[in-house]
């Protein structure tokens, strides 16, 4: 047996590149634990970043994937509360120590392994982040900024040219125009920092600087990033983002470090990273005038303006990093930190600008790859990792340097005709989707270090494809480039990260192939994930028509899929050209502002008394007057549009919201009562809690029936017979919108085609229906399937179900309508404070945490100014409504008459299997149904062994009585860690017994008045929880803001709190009960065999 440490330290690449799977497959539990112990000791005393991080990922993999296969799930273990607290506070080492001692004390278990896996995983990424932060701080040229701790020590001065005032135009203006970068080969994410630092020879990218024009908006491609800097005659730092429509005048130093307080966080990051206001000044209490005085002189200030030329967010062209690069270059030129004031930068200058851009990304709490500031460089270039040498800050720590090497291809290497042909063939688009690629970058790092067979092989293939692309560039063979990028996307990229594609992209590619056949030369993956920025290569002879066609196809495809996938905007098509100059600056007369500056600033000036304006502003106004009087610009009309209000569609939205509320059963009286209760403090997050004197203990032996082992044949037979007789139906809860799944994007989670099974992307609903299909095939009777819906999900789900029934040629699937809806409210400050300050939560990495705190402070201000507990109406009407909790979904079956209809059509129906839409393993399992029938309980609840990620209550003895308790109601967080089982939400319901609890029977279901009264009476017996949910507000070009809003809900699990509802609890395998709440879970879910096991339970018809 080879030690896993050999895989880390061996000088032989053949050993070093072995996967952990290949080494641990045949180990026993004891051997695996010994290996883990050795690795843990090893990683604690190594200096090498690679050795520490790879050992950490091995440990993560052991606990996440390998040990659980060897340890019976029934082995009970508990996650120590102290360990969890350390984990939340990012004290990962301490958390690991606590979890390891728990493992030593009570033996290995799924629960403890899940905690160890999470802690090792986070520690690995924390180690990497710390190293990047350290490296970027220690890059020569960056260090001084962290030492400058006092405004008196500020070493920079503005160049004299910028301080020389002109009688007519005032202070001159330095303007920088920068292109964005387009990745040729996608690079298999080899531009993540760690890969470059650990595997410099494999970290290779070709990227081109490009100018862009959005079709229909711009005439010609231009450098899309436009920034300028000038001295102003007021001692403030004025930051202007034209595209985000915001002007911020900073008067206090502390505001510069408050990144999320407004929309100019990127400009602030540039100001700091460029050294204008060095990072070392953070925390210093000073007014900005005293900081600007040495820089520009007494009584003067600085204005920095940025404009992105309508390029939407999520373009995958590294817009924000290049904007940061452009702004930093501008500020560094202005303060003599780089050699040239005008024109291009030297290679040395570009490198320091790139290093500062990485610093800026870190300061702003975001993160890009090392190739991302490629737009600062000219033309097409090969960017490669470089080996760290003696004298580099990385030497002895990592193999490679933080910053890569850039080789700009000459016209001999890539001919001008090739560049032109490329422009004539490639259609660049933004497909409209904007997604968080953060989890993908983490997956890439993890897979690189684990060297899993197929993924490591795929990385090798991606490197080969890059070499082929270089070759094709030199020969000018664009068709082969298209074939190579296409092969790259469908092969290695999806082998490494299956989630980089999606149903939308696949559909577009398929339509391109169908329509253009051989004239479609290939798909071009731009970066991160497909669906936003993408490329399609066509025969140049057909490119013009294909471009128009593709735009239309994207629009229609988006319309078809917008309920299922998170689109942030309508798709757009670009024109582009390669920028052979790189970032360029020019000293210009004052007033040479980017387009859009005056319409943004002038209305504010006009609102002030003319006498209170500075002389310079008055001169600007005169200039604006002259421009308006000339007929060469449309400035006058733009200003009028700004100054004088036009008719807005706000009233239309209001009307539509009112209609929606009425249609969906909104109760205004209850809503008003809720508002009063919230304001009076009778309801709120703190009021969700059970009394603090409540005794919450873990269940005892006999409280739970262990159904993780094979059940007796007799029980299984009872279940089988019931299925065959048509006694069971499935209820899939799909009224909610899955806030965590798309961070409040408001799409229908049930319809999200998130995974490829049997060759096609499948949605949650597809999978549930396919499981029912298989049950039907196996037992000769397909269970009736009911999908419950809400105001937002009903129409799309109805359409999807109709399509499914048409495709399958059979019915038996019913859609249940929602009967009530709530109107979201602006949260109270009290609840925001409770959620953010009283409830424990994961602390983020240092800088991200600062940004989060700044954002939270801004959101508190928003809640205060918008009015606590007022109606949340400042969004699309659908985003202002909320479903009222899944408890209502079964009563809705009664109220809509659907249950009555079913019982009439299928009188043998006796049981319902209710499950959450994201509990993919739930299927009509005969053994479990038999257990439920044998118990005679009204409800049989499935529970699973609690793991680290299963937060939010569980199965407990509450004051001695066994019931489910919600996390929202836990008075003491520590109690939750004492619970062995987590609620999977899957519930077997005896229909007649449930009706009886409601005071109803099969016969009385036809009496709608009685049903309504019964439901209302029952509802009063259950608690109402106040919750905060994230909701996205979209604006501009793909911009998204996330607001926490207040809503209420009643939850199904509280049925178990009622003494007259008989319940039994069944422990089921985790595979069956686990829920997919967050896309970040997907990769582990695929790799641990969960997806494959579920696929086996499905019969997909098409």
């Amino acid at each position: 047996m080879r030690s896993l440490i050999d895989l880390i330290v061996s000088p032989d690449p053949a050993v070093r590149d072995l996967s952990i799977e290949s080494q641990v497959a045949k180990l026993t539990v004891t051997e695996l634990l010994e290996q883990a112990q050795e690795l843990d000791r090893f990683r604690r005393d190594r200096d090498s970043l690679y050795e520490r991080v790879r050992a950490l990922f091995f440990l993560y993999a052991i606990h996440r994937f390998h040990l659980p296969k060897l340890v019976p799930e029934a082995e009970l273990g508990k996650i120590a509360f102290e360990g969890h607290q350390h984990f939340l506070q990012r004290r990962f080492n301490e958390a690991i120590d606590v979890f390891l001692s728990e493992q030593k004390r009570s033996g290995p278990s799924w629960a403890v392994s899940s905690a160890l896996a999470a802690a090792y995983h986070r520690l690995a990424f924390q180690t990497l982040a710390d190293q990047v932060r350290k490296s970027v701080k220690t890059v020569a040229g960056n260090r001084w900024m962290f030492r400058t701790g006092n405004p008196d020590e500020l070493p920079l001065r503005l160049r004299d040219e910028l301080l020389t005032k002109d009688a007519t135009f005032g202070y001159p203006m330095l303007r920088e125009r920068t292109s964005v970068r387009m990745d040729f080969s996608h690079s298999a994410w080899s531009d993540i920092f760690f890969l470059g630092m650990d595997f410099p020879q494999g970290a290779r990218v070709i990227n081109a600087s490009i100018n862009l024009a959005v079709q229909g908006r711009h005439q010609h491609p231009e450098p899309p990033l436009d920034c300028c800097l000038r001295v102003i005659d007021r001692p403030v730092l004025r930051l202007v983002s034209i595209d985000l429509n915001v002007v911020v005048e900073i008067t206090q130093l502390s505001q510069v470090f408050d990144f999320a307080a407004d929309y100019v966080g990127l400009l602030k990051a540039a100001v700091i990273a460029s050294g204008l206001i060095p990072a070392g000044l953070e925390g210093h209490q000073a007014d900005i005038a005293s900081v600007l005085r040495p820089l520009v002189g007494a009584g003067l200030g600085l204005e920095i303006v940025s404009r992105v030329n309508d390029i939407p967010k999520g373009s995958r062209l590294a817009v924000s990093t290049n904007l940061l690069g452009g702004l930093i270059a501008l500020c560094m030129r202005a303060t003599n930190q780089v050699s040239a004031l005008n024109g291009s930068l030297t290679e040395a200058d570009r490198r320091i600008v790139a290093a500062r851009a990485i610093l800026g990304e870190w300061l702003g709490g975001s993160g890009g790859g090392w190739q991302d500031s490629g737009g600062v460089w000219p033309g097409i270039k090969l960017i490669e990792g470089s080996v760290a040498a003696d004298g580099d800050p990385e030497f002895g720590v990592s193999r490679g340097r933080l910053l890569p090497q850039h080789h700009v291809f000459s016209s001999e290497e890539v001919a001008a005709t090739t560049r032109q042909r490329l422009q004539d063939s490639l259609v660049l688009v933004h497909g409209g989707m904007a997604q968080n690629v953060g989890p993908i970058l983490e997956m890439v790092t993890e897979k690189y270090l684990l060297r899993s067979g197929s993924e490591w092989q795929a990385r090798g293939q991606a490197i080969e494809i890059l070499d082929q692309i270089i070759q094709h560039l030199s020969t000018g063979d664009i068709r082969s480039i298209g074939a190579a990028t296409d092969r790259n996307f469908s092969g290695p990229l999806q082998a490494i990260i299956p989630w980089c594609t999606n149903a939308y992209t696949e559909r577009l590619i398929a339509r391109c192939r169908e329509t253009y056949g051989k004239d479609f030369w290939g798909f071009w993956m731009l970066g991160g994930m497909a669906g936003g920025g993408m490329g399609f290569i066509f025969n140049p002879e057909r490119k013009v028509e294909a471009r128009q066609w593709l735009w239309e196809v994207m629009q229609t495809t988006k319309r078809e899929m917008e309920h299922a996938l998170p689109f942030a905007m309508d798709p757009v098509v670009y024109d582009f050209e390669i920028n052979d100059q790189g970032t360029q600056a020019q000293l210009m007369p004052g007033g040479s502002y980017p387009v859009g500056y005056y319409p943004l600033l002038v209305p504010g000036w006009l609102r002030q008394d003319i006498q209170s304006l500075s002389a310079e502003t008055r001169a600007e106004l005169e200039r604006v007057g002259q421009l308006c009087r000339s007929s060469e610009t449309d400035l006058a009309s733009k200003l009028i549009a700004r100054i004088l209000p036009g008719k807005t569609d706000d009233s239309i939205s209001r009307q539509s919201l009112t209609d929606l509320l009425q249609i969906n059963g909104f109760d205004p009286v209850a809503h008003q009562q809720l508002r009063e209760d919230l304001l009076a403090g009778r309801l709120g997050l703190a009021q969700n809690l059970l009394p603090s004197t409540t005794a919450i203990d873990d269940v005892q032996e006999g409280d739970v029936m262990d159904c993780r082992q094979p059940l007796p044949d007799s029980t299984v037979e009872i279940g089988k017979a019931a299925i065959e007789r048509g006694e069971v139906a499935v209820v899939t809860l799909a009224a909610g919108v899955g806030s965590r799944w798309t961070q409040g994007a408001g799409v229908v989670k049930a319809l999200h085609p998130f995974v490829r099974m049997t060759g096609r992307h499948r949605s949650f609903l597809d999978i549930h229906l396919a499981k029912s299909q298989q049950t039907g095939r196996l037992h000769g009777c397909r269970p009736v399937h009911i999908v419950t819906t809400g105001y937002m999900t009903e129409q799309p789900i109805r359409a999807a179900v109709e399509r499914w029934q048409q495709q399958n040629g059979e019915g038996g699937v019913y859609v249940s309508s929602g009967k009530s809806v709530g109107l979201r409210m602006v949260p109270t400050i009290r609840d925001l404070r409770f959620a953010w300050e009283e409830m424990s939560q994961q602390v983020l990495d240092q800088q991200q945490q600062k940004v989060r705190q700044s954002l939270r402070s801004a959101l508190m201000n928003w809640a205060q100014s918008a009015g606590e507990a007022t109606d949340y109406v400042d969004n699309l009407p659908m985003q202002c409504l909320h479903p009222v909790g899944h408890w209502y979904e079964i009563p809705n079956l009664l109220r809509t008459g659907l249950l009555q209809e079913l019982l009439h059509a299928q009188p043998r129906l006796k049981h319902l299997m209710l499950h959450n839409v994201d509990t993919l393993g739930a299927s009509v399992e005969p053994g479990l149904l038999g257990t439920h029938i044998q118990s005679g309980a009204c409800l049989s609840i499935e529970v699973i062994t609690r793991r680290m990620e299963d937060r939010g209550g569980g199965l407990a003895r509450v004051n001695g009585r066994v019931r489910l308790v919600e996390g929202l109601a836990m008075p003491n967080e520590r109690d939750e860690f004492n619970l062995t089982y987590y609620n999977s939400m899957t519930t077997w319901i005896d229909i007649d017994r449930l009706l009886e609890r409601f005071g109803l029977s099969r016969d009385s279901l036809s009496d709608s008045e009685r049903v309504l009264k019964a439901v209302r009476q029952f509802a009063r017996r259950l608690p109402t929880y106040i919750t905060l949910k994230d909701v996205k507000k979209r604006w501009g070009n793909g911009q998204e803001d996330v607001f926490p809003v207040c809503q209420f809900e009643k939850l199904w699990g509280d049925m178990t709190s009622l003494a007259d509802v008989s319940c039994q609890y069944m422990a089921v395998p985790t595979l069956r009960g686990q829920q997919l709440k967050d896309p970040a879970q997907l990769d582990g879910w695929l790799r641990d065999g969960s997806a494959a096991a579920i696929e086996k339970n499905c019969d997909f018809v098409a």
């Binding site: 040229g141 260090r143 001084w144 020590e153 920079l156 001065r157 050294g275 930190q337 780089v338």
Partner: protein
Amino acid sequence: MTISKAVITAAGKDQTHLPLQTVVDRTGRARSALELVLEEVVSAGIEDIAIVVAPGEKDRYLAAAGSFKSRLTFFVQNDPQGYGDAILRAQAFVGREMFLHLVGDHLYVSDHTQLSCASQLVAVAQREQCSISAIQPTHESKLRFFGAIGGTPVAHAEKLYEVTAIMEKPTPTQAEQALIVAGQRSGYYLCFFGMHVLTPTILDLLAEAKSAFAANLAGNPAGTLAGKPMSVNLSDSLRKLIQREKYLAFQIQGQRFNIGETYGLLIAQMALALSGPDRDRVLVELVELLARPK
């Protein structure tokens, strides 16, 4: 080769009045700043001193020179073309000898028990027989006032460096990339002290630079010298000197004070006063000032 001549430049714009200001020396006597600079030169055993002044300043300088006036030769920098050009004006005076050069807007206070700053530099230059610039570790926040060097320590010679790079008034960004010298405190760079011993080669290089500057100027009557030096400066020629001959830098035991900076004269005055016999008295006065409410 012994060093017997010195050149002081005092013709710079906004600089001409600086050496004429009155300060109290370490013994408590009121004297002109120029007199102190001249005393510094003479302490190094140098008899002949050239001063390069702006037109019309000679008499005022003579008046301020006190007992040293007889040793002075004046050169007037008409049509000023930079710091390097000012030195070049004394070419005839220097001939082909090594010479000490000081800037007129600095005052020097030695930390050495016996030797003045100039004496320390001249002693090393005579031993090494090459151009040597005096240097002082300077905090990065003051880089904008000085030229700075990058270099490597000379083996077995304390505080002596072989110069490999020179930048004029660098930003810390540039200094960190090009001027890191082993053994220096973080955030400190070796900056010029305003005092050099130079070989005649520097005059050749300055003459070349001046010719090139004149040619550029002739080709660009509008005065837009894109990418070219805007004046004849010493740093460019010192950079070329590295290629031509041995060029060292020596860290002086002492301090220099740029009296052209805001509060520069005040700080220089305090340094002088605190280095003399009246130190305690001055300290008491300072403490009393400090104790007063703001």
